[in-house]
Subunit: 338 residues, 2 copies
DNA sequence: TCCACCCATGCAAGCGCTTACATTTACCAA
DNA sequence: TTGGTAAATGTAAGCGCTTGCATGGGTGGA
């Protein structure tokens, strides 16, 4: 009975090609050290058998997987899609694969998934933001797994990271809003607990507000999950106040989408009744009506750079990276003078 | 020099606990067959060393990974997000992990990723739709990897699948549109080449159109990628015709989003100048302005069921599944009488 | 013609686990 | 006390690959 009915292994290929397994292995990996003649024989056998190397066996023997793990807070909306796409494409060009999982913004789930990815032999990891337990960093350190943080950059942190300054960026936008004459600002923030990006963005607004001589007590803030519905609900709450805000600054574009949608339902015109701003500049932002004024984040560049630097880290071609990217304000129709 | 500096293995744990590796292994897997006493000792050692089992080694020895692979056409937009989320949650409840990759709607990439996932030892696979080369199915068959298809259901196909009838669903919507009095319909379809769902949806519209006694030559159709921008561009093209359509039926909600956005830019009012319909009922649909009339797909149920049935397939508790889910039309503001 | 080298190849030792099978231990009935 | 049985544990053989080292054959210089 031919063995061909079961899954072919290196051994099968070697036997079929009349060489040793070592030779087959070398054919499949290092291009060199095998004569043209032999390689041809081997490749023919590989094709004939439909051989595909067993990943686990390879990982075990080589202690290298050419796999990168990424854990993002959510796949539900497009916040991370563009950046991750670029990350993945760059990785792919360099012969790496990407394993993605989502933590649903839950730190304990993130920790679990980090362990799972490391256990799977990920050569490196991409994580979002800084905030996580020290024990997680210790674990990564101990296992020697190169890790790069993205979507955030804080000059006082030393961990390899590629991102932008959420705080300064949001402050820039808030300054702009205030300079346009707005004096009644309300904020729909993401949940800051366990999310340094959300916290920094909120702080950016507070910075601006305070620096312009206003009282933080006069700055209504609602924290709510990054979902369209929540943004809508928060909008309704904020507009129910006796002193209606003239502008609502949202922690990201998803919340802003909800706010604008709800504004329409409630009969408010944006921006003449109330302005709305976002953050991230997801693709949808410019297609909202009115188009959303927001902070443009260079997602593609961030993903690409993160991939390149992470691979350097893995190859030992560098020991640390810290790169700050520039964001810009995109003025669109959703923001006007009060 | 203590070995604790390097990554702890089963051996280390066994030594620390004063038992054999077999016992430790049994502790970590089958709950039974180990005395309470021993288990405690072992667990203590595990904690102390911070031991995490090596996934590859485990996969190799056990020939089982408790990992499911899913390949979806895109992560860029939310089409698959809800369904995948439910799929993943159900899997997780049953102790399985999910590996996701995206094929960017490219069959050859999908084939490559299928091989990669199988090589990684995926116990089962989730794929979208029916259309792929026979060789891919043969490969899966040969490797004995259980595979379930989702997001589509065709009664004439026998492969395990869980989905809905794209053709009948879209036809239902088209019938409705026509019954409202529309006689000038234009279609923005996804690229049908290599995408059976897109093709079926388009066929559904054609079915209805023909069944109502109209000529297929009078049905303008543009095929374009599932992107907001493309939807917008297609909309502009269709409206540039001498005979403007009274309704534009889109292959999915993403295209419809682009169409509505572009309509505003061009100064058309939806639905009084032109109606727009979508398909999928992504979260955004109801937040568009006007809210989008579309076909509601039970994504959550589909994901959940797919997970359950796939696991049954893997466990050999069943040999085949074919389940058709019901969709429904959601009437919202974007569709009105001409 | 001979020797030193180098390149292509083979040999075999793991990588860290699981599990069939063997062994030991504990306990109970006779 | 002793034999028998079942439960707990240990032994060791792989799982499919990579890679350091050994080997052998071919090449070119003297």
């Amino acid at each position: 009975m031919p063995k061909s009915l079961s899954i072919p292994t290196l051994d099968d290929v070697a036997r079929a090609a009349g060489v040793s397994t070592a030779t087959v292995s070398r054919c499949l990996n290092a291009e060199k050290k095998v004569s043209e003649n032999t390689r041809e024989k081997v490749m023919k056998a590989v094709d004939a058998l439909g051989y595909v190397p067993n990943f686990s066996a390879r990982a075990m023997a080589a202690k290298r997987t050419y796999t990168i793990g990424a854990i993002i807070p959510t796949m539900e909306n497009a916040i991370f899609a563009r950046g991750l796409q670029a990350f993945q494409e760059t990785l792919h060009e360099q012969g790496y694969n990407l394993l993605v999982s989502s933590s649903a913004y839950r730190p304990e789930l993130e920790a679990e998934q980090i362990r799972a990815l490391v256990a799977r032999g990920a050569d490196g990891l991409l994580l979002i933001g800084y905030e996580r337990e020290q024990s997680v960093y210790d674990y990564l350190e101990k296992r020697g797994t190169p890790t790069i943080l993205a979507w955030a950059y804080q000059s006082n942190k030393t961990h390899p990271s590629i991102g932008f300054d959420n705080r300064a960026s949001m402050r820039m936008l808030a300054d702009r809003v205030i300079s346009m004459g707005h004096r009644r600002i309300a904020v729909i923030s993401g949940i800051t607990d366990g999310n340094d990006r959300a916290e920094e963005r909120l702080n950016g607004i507070k910075d601006s507000w305070a620096a312009n001589g206003f009282n933080l007590d006069d700055l209504p803030i609602i924290q709510t999950p990054y979902e369209i519905e929540s943004g809508g609900a928060a909008f309704a709450d904020l507009m129910a106040a006796p002193q209606k805000p003239t502008v609502i600054m949202c922690g990201n574009d998803v919340l802003a989408t909800g706010a604008i949608s709800r504004a329409k339902e409630l009969g408010y015109d944006v921006p003449s009744d109330v302005s709305v701003t976002g953050f991230d500049d997801i693709e949808l932002a410019k297609h909202l009506h009115p188009p959303l004024t927001t902070v443009h984040v260079p997602h593609g560049e961030m993903g690409r750079t993160a991939a390149e630097e992470l691979i350097k880290l893995i190859d030992g071609r560098t020991t640390s990276v810290r790169r700050q990217l520039n964001v810009s304000i995109v003025m669109r129709g959703s923001l006007a003078r009060p």
